[in-house]
């Protein structure tokens, strides 16, 4: 099967799911680095306002593209595309995705989207206005007009090659790529499972990646329609979002958040899935309440579609609608609370081994709780109207997304690295990386709760012009502390790069099943060849049967053993 893929071109244009996973993964890491550097630059400006001469437009451009890149070009490719590509075919015991060529095409469309993103960043070179500076939500009317001239072909083309138009195009391409990838994941998981693998034998991470892909597909459609309308407003001067031309800017907010809120669960669910694989392996006991975890996730995926307007409590929506969305938002914390309690209960009475992946998974469970709990505050419209657009919100979503993307994603890297390279990662470096990251996160994000409650607003380049900010000396000091935390957080990620490359070259050989884990990917060789398995495994049992009373002689019972 792999014979035709020889030579350099065959390796680059590969249809092998593992190669495509690696391509997504390293592209995602590259953009995480770029997005992180943007954040470091504007955090330095915030902490030491006199240190650099930065205009509001440049600042807003950095903030906007930090969020866009981190979400769509780091979190999505790593946690959805790379993870799904790596683990789905291996964990369900088949040789590749259902549509390997479509899979390859998804990646190349994704790569084109990154090029269009770069074009949008450098669009200042041809007078296209430079990086988008509207905030990552690209709200009209600010985003909906550019030159205001739609009369000639040249003017229309000029509108099309301006920064925000290119960014919208880049996001659209990225969506197309992820939609194709998601369809591939779902068909693969439904149709190509190993013989004997029933629905309730599927590992949680495969379920969760599929639920994320499904949620993405259900929520992104209206935003694709909305983005086409926004692009036409910008490029051709239609009137969808411009009140002077009959439109309504709040309409875009609805379309954006109908996608934007489920989107956070699209990245959360894969991370929760990774942790669900790691905890049973390193406590040597079954995942607590597999069915409950699964049902909760399905419920949350549906409720996720009816919470979006909690982002718009101050946009002038009807107060009765605000009540509805407050209630649904607080309800959605119930399934996630159930999942978190199930994870905590999984630790109870286990033989906990704090290897690096487990350390990161534990960090995820503890840190995500902070973000989750503050989310319940913000779901209540009474509190949100006060806290809206303040640094309290910034602290909240960094306490959710950093645990999800960093802790969840990185625990997956440390867990599956031995499978995909055949080598162990360095435990010492991994632990150092963990402690620096968790210190960095808390030093960075915790002070922001306080400055936000005091009234420090988002998306302001220089607070020194506000008297009530200058009077409070501690706010500037907290800002400095937060910046130091952000620098620790960003710098410590270098340890991950060092660890990956050092271990890939000189790590200890890991063997087929280094963690003594049950799921089917550990049956294949490390690294798995193209085609994955010598003989297709047959599945006899659920994925988490650790310390099973009927099993004598070992505390784990692989899914393929009778």
């Amino acid at each position: 099967m792999s014979s035709h893929e020889t030579g350099l071109l065959g390796k680059i244009f590969s249809t092998d799911h593992k190669v495509i996973g690696k391509q997504y993964f390293f592209t995602g890491l590259l953009f995480a680095f770029i997005g992180g550097m943007f954040a470091v630059v504007f955090r330095i400006k915030l902490a030491w306002p006199g240190s650099m001469d930065m205009s509001g437009t440049v600042y807003n451009g950095l903030v906007t593209n930090h969020a866009m890149i981190m979400f769509f070009w780091a979190a999505m490719p790593v946690l959805l595309a790379a993870l799904g590509n790596f683990v789905i075919p291996l964990m369900i015991g088949c040789d590749d995705m259902a549509f390997p060529k479509l899979n390859m095409m998804s990646f190349w469309i994704f790569l084109v989207s990154t090029l269009v993103l770069v074009l949008s960043l450098i669009s200042g070179l041809w007078g296209g206005g430079g990086p988008t500076a509207t905030g990552w939500t690209i709200y009209p009317p600010l985003s909906a007009s550019y030159g205001g001239d739609y009369s000639t072909v040249g003017a229309v083309l000029g509108n099309l090659i301006s920064g925000p138009s290119l960014l919208i195009l880049a996001v659209a391409l990225e969506f197309a790529s992820m939609l194709m990838g998601g369809i591939n994941f779902m068909v693969t998981s439904l149709n190509m499972r190993a013989k004997g693998m029933k629905f309730m034998d599927i590992p949680i991470v495969v379920w969760f990646v599929n639920l994320a892909a499904l949620d993405f597909m259900f929520s992104v459609g209206p935003l694709i329609a909305g983005a086409v309308m926004l692009l036409f407003d910008r490029v051709f001067g239609t009137g969808f979002y411009d009140p002077a031309r009959g439109g309504d800017p709040v309409l875009f907010q609805h379309l954006f958040w109908f996608f934007g809120h489920p989107e956070v669960y699209v990245v959360l669910l894969p991370a929760l899935g990774i942790v669900a694989e790691i905890i049973p392996t390193f406590t040597r006991k079954p995942l607590f309440a597999y069915r409950l975890v699964l049902i909760s996730a399905v419920a949350s995926a549906f409720i996720a579609l009816i919470v979006w307007a909690h982002h718009q409590f101050i946009a002038g929506i009807d107060p009765r609608m605000a009540t509805f969305f407050s209630i649904t938002t607080i309800i959605i914390s119930i399934p996630f609370a159930l999942i978190m309690f199930a994870y905590i209960a999984s630790y109870f009475g286990g033989q906990i081994e704090m290897k690096t992946p487990m350390l990161w998974a534990t960090g995820f469970v503890s840190m995500f709780l902070v973000g989750g709990v503050t989310g319940i505050y913000l779901g209540s419209s009474a509190f949100d109207i006060y806290a809206h657009d303040s640094y309290f919100v910034v602290a909240h979503f960094h306490y959710t997304l950093i645990p999800v993307v960093f802790f969840g994603g990185i625990s997956g890297i440390y867990y599956w690295f031995p499978k995909f390279s055949g080598k162990f990662m360095s435990e010492g470096l991994g632990k150092l990386h963990f402690w620096l990251t968790i210190i960095g996160l808390n030093v960075f994000a915790f002070p922001l709760f306080f400055t936000g409650m005091w009234g420090q607003h988002r998306r302001i380049v220089d607070y020194q012009v506000y008297d009530f900010m200058v009077e409070q000396d501690w706010i500037l000091q907290f800002r400095v502390v937060a910046t130091i935390g952000a620098i620790i957080l960003a710098a410590s990620q270098l340890l991950l790069f060092i660890n990956i490359f050092k271990s890939a070259v000189s790590g200890e050989p890991a063997g087929k099943n280094p963690w003594k884990s049950n799921t089917l990917e550990w049956v294949a060789d490390s690294p798995p060849p193209h085609g994955n398995f010598e003989t297709y495994p047959t599945c006899y049992r659920g994925p988490y049967e650790y310390s099973h009373p009927d099993r004598s002689g070992s505390d784990y019972w692989p899914q393929n053993e009778q």
Partner: protein, 215 residues
């Protein structure tokens, strides 16, 4: 893929993927339709007024009715192509696929040549800044009609245009599938292209009453 080694639910993977694709496309169009209906409810009677040139309707119902008939006929012909594929009648696959593509071409010709050029002739455009209404009517007294007209024609052109794009995509898909199926290869793909084509048809069934009948 050695299929005997894995469990296969009773749905072939190609059909499953097209169902998911169709679901995704319907959600995109659902977004457009929901936005249009919201705007229409918001403006009430001003939308029908925005569709008029004086007391003459700009959007002519009979073109829509003819196009609906054409699309429904093309759904019939693609089903015949599918039937031919199941019976392994290769020349019939080619014939009925070409009939479908020809009907799609007629649809697009009517849509763009007769209808859009008529709309443009009367001053409607994607951005109706150059709109010169012959008569403002009751709402014009408060100056609102101009902006409602812009909004209505924005929706009309973007939704029918986006649907037209899908007609082109669907016809291209049928053509590509026909090339191999008429040589006896990948016969199951005729059904998949047909499923997509029915979706294009279905969306038109929603657009037709919204733009042509509810005036």
């Amino acid at each position: 893929m050695s299929a005997e080694n894995v469990t296969i639910e009773q749905v072939p993977k190609g059909r499953l993927a097209i169902w998911l694709l169709v679901a995704g496309e319907l959600i995109i169009f659902g977004g457009f339709i929901a936005c249009y209906l919201l705007a229409r409810f918001e403006y009430g009677g001003a939308f029908p007024a925005a569709m008029m040139d004086g007391d003459q309707p700009i959007i002519l119902w009979y073109w829509g009715a003819i196009n609906t008939t054409i699309l429904l006929a093309s759904s019939w012909s693609i089903v015949k192509a599918h039937e031919a594929a199941m019976n392994n009648e290769l020349s019939k696959i080619k014939m009925f696929s070409l009939v479908t593509i020809a009907l799609a071409a007629v649809f697009l010709f009517i849509k763009f040549y007769f209808e859009w050029s008529h709309d443009f002739h009367l001053g409607a455009s994607l951005r109706s800044f150059d709109w010169l209404p012959t008569e403002y009517g009751a709402i014009a007294a408060d100056g609102g009609l101009q902006s409602v007209k812009t909004l209505f024609w924005s929706y009309y052109f973007i939704m029918t245009g986006f649907h037209g794009l899908h007609v082109v995509i669907g016809a291209l898909a049928i053509f590509i599938v026909m090339l191999s199926a008429s040589k006896g290869k990948n016969l199951h793909r005729v059904e998949l292209a047909g499923m997509y084509w029915h979706m294009v048809d279905l969306i038109w069934i929603f657009l037709f009453p919204m733009f042509y009948l509810a005036q």
